[in-house]
Amino acid sequence: MYQEVILDHYKNPHGRGLRDGDAEVHHVNPTCGDEITLRVKYDGATIEDVSYEGQGCSISQASASVLNELLVGKDLSDARKIQETFLELMQSKGKLEPDDAMEEILEDAVAFAGVSKYPARVKCALLSWMAWKDATAQALGEADAERKTTA
């Protein structure tokens, strides 16, 4: 499951560090202690920045780095599509073979396909993505935001 791409992102994370943002969330994965603090900054419907700090396993760290790389500069609707596709892949229990269309959407994130076989690690891979979703909802003032263990 440790694809070269994942290790690269783990060792050289993209956009790590907390910068100015419109909303901040803190998510934890209580079963393994992974944590992330994540801020989003929007320029209208465009994602200007996703900055974060956290501790945790390579999967959760690399996933945050990939998220930054993929989402910054994107339009919110494109970003949502990417997030949903990533969620679908992670919940596939290793049964989904990413096709070309999926690879086009997910880019580096397809490297996480192997993680979906390990139920204990799926949560790690999703941590930053759930935090981003939550922060976005806050930033855009959506009332129906699906809040997770935000402390």
């Binding site: 290790l7 079963t31 393994c32 202690g33 945790g56 396993c57």
Partner: protein, 418 residues
């Protein structure tokens, strides 16, 4: 192969455990070092379970047919074996539960509903320690919340031992119950029972010992412990899942109220009121885990055939070797005692800033099964400021070769993430 004094002939014993022949991840030999989570099951126990279902299965007690009498004799025979195994003064002091967690909840609930002098209420205090398994924390938190009692605990020293320096402030005249772990599943620490029992007796508090990590690994003598209750669990001692034990002193079991109500635990029932059977049946509502108790009896036979003192010596030698070898791994920090003295065979550690999940996963890819996380003892992780640990834990079938494999595996982990 490494030769250590006191080792069992583990290669021979391993033949009793079918699962140890398994290969994982395309042909890698399984190195099972997750024994503190659960132990493996020898052929001897599996056979007894099969024979139970194939020859003797029936509901116990009150039956007048052959199968019911056989099943009852097997079930009650298992109780005899447990009683002897822990040197209980009476077989009637052995209560079968589904696991150690139920045993500990049983104690907490008996005391919550008891009459004086046992009753835990808002005037009283409960004492535990910071190194307890969640199963010996949450029942007391629930009891404290529901009765208004105050929950207190012993802290830990930097080297993973109980800090008893303030024992007279922690255990006071208000203390009704002191419940603590004999051997910690996360730190490996073996606790000084005598000092705690002495102080508890001084103030008239009851003592409950969580022996889940002791019963499988060393001779256990409830009379020598001088505790009032001792809990442990079958699946960690070569037995099946679904069976636990609570031992309690007879007078207490007579005085204390029942917990779960139902068939088997009654003397006589009318719609208006019921009276209860004497212990242990008073605390065994419903059809008990019959086959599992019988399986636990077979596990005890198996352990006895090796000898608990020999098993202890074997694991002690392995622990000594493992501590030494692990400390040779750069950046490895043992969380818990760093010698084999007064400790069991579960060793937790961190490896630089590589997250335990990654350590465990890369070890698994090499066929090495360890556990990672907070090991149901999160307060210990908080105490030592770490999110989680990697834990290797040994049993009677563990070998020095497996420890070598672990150390090599950890080197691989370091290179992988280095």
């Amino acid at each position: 192969m490494t030769q250590l004094p006191g080792l069992l002939d583990a290669e021979a014993l391993r033949k009793d455990f079918p699962i140890l022949d398994r290969q994982v991840h395309d042909g890698k030999k399984l190195v099972y070092l997750d024994n503190a989570a659960t132990s493996q099951t020898p052929r001897q126990v599996i056979d007894v379970l099969d024979e139970y279902y194939e020859q003797h299965n029936a509901n116990v007690h009150r039956g007048v047919h052959v199968l019911a009498e056989e099943a009852t004799a097997l079930y009650e025979g298992a109780r005899d074996k447990v009683a002897e195994f822990i040197n209980a003064p009476s077989r009637n002091e052995v209560i079968f539960t589904k696991n150690a967690s139920e045993s500990l909840n049983l104690v907490a609930n008996m005391l919550g509903w008891a009459d004086e002098p046992y009753r835990v209420d808002s005037e009283t205090e409960i004492v535990i320690t910071e190194m307890e398994h969640h199963s010996n924390i949450v029942p007391w938190q629930l009891l404290a919340q529901r009765t208004g009692a105050k929950l207190k605990w012993f802290g830990l020293t930097d080297d993973g031992r109980l800090d008893l320096s303030n024992i007279d402030q922690v255990i006071t005249e208000k203390t009704k119950i002191v419940s603590f772990v004999l051997v910690s599943n996360i730190l490996g620490t073996q606790n000084p029972v005598e000092a705690i029992v002495r102080r508890a007796q001084e103030v008239g508090a009851l003592v409950c010992v969580d022996a889940s990590q002791a019963a499988p690994h060393m001779p256990l003598d409830v009379q020598a412990l001088q505790a009032d209750f001792v809990a442990f669990t079958g699946h960690k001692m070569c037995g099946p899942t679904g069976i636990g034990v609570l031992w309690g002193r007879q007078e207490l079991l007579e005085d204390l109220p029942p917990f779960l109500g139902g068939g088997e635990m009654i003397e006589t029932v009318s719609m208006h009121s019921s009276t209860y059977a004497p212990a242990p049946h008073k605390f065994e509502a419903g059809t008990p885990p019959i086959a599992q108790a019988v399986g636990l009896g077979a596990a005890i036979d198996y352990l006895n055939s090796i000898g608990m003192d020999k098993i202890f010596a074997h694991e002690h030698a392995l622990t000594e070797y493992a501590v030494k070898r692990l400390l040779e791994v750069p950046d490895l920090r043992i969380i818990g005692p760093t010698t084999a003295e007064e400790r069991g065979a579960a060793i937790s550690f961190t490896l630089g800033d590589i997250h335990p999940h990654d350590v465990g996963q890369v070890l698994d890819e090499q066929g090495i099964a360890v556990r990672v996380g907070h090991h149901c003892a999160r307060p210990v992780c908080l105490r030592y400021g770490i999110p989680a640990t990697t834990r290797a834990s040994f049993y009677l079938y563990s070998t020095p070769t497996e420890i070598d494999a672990l150390v090599d595996g950890l080197e691989h982990v370091r290179n992988f993430f280095g």
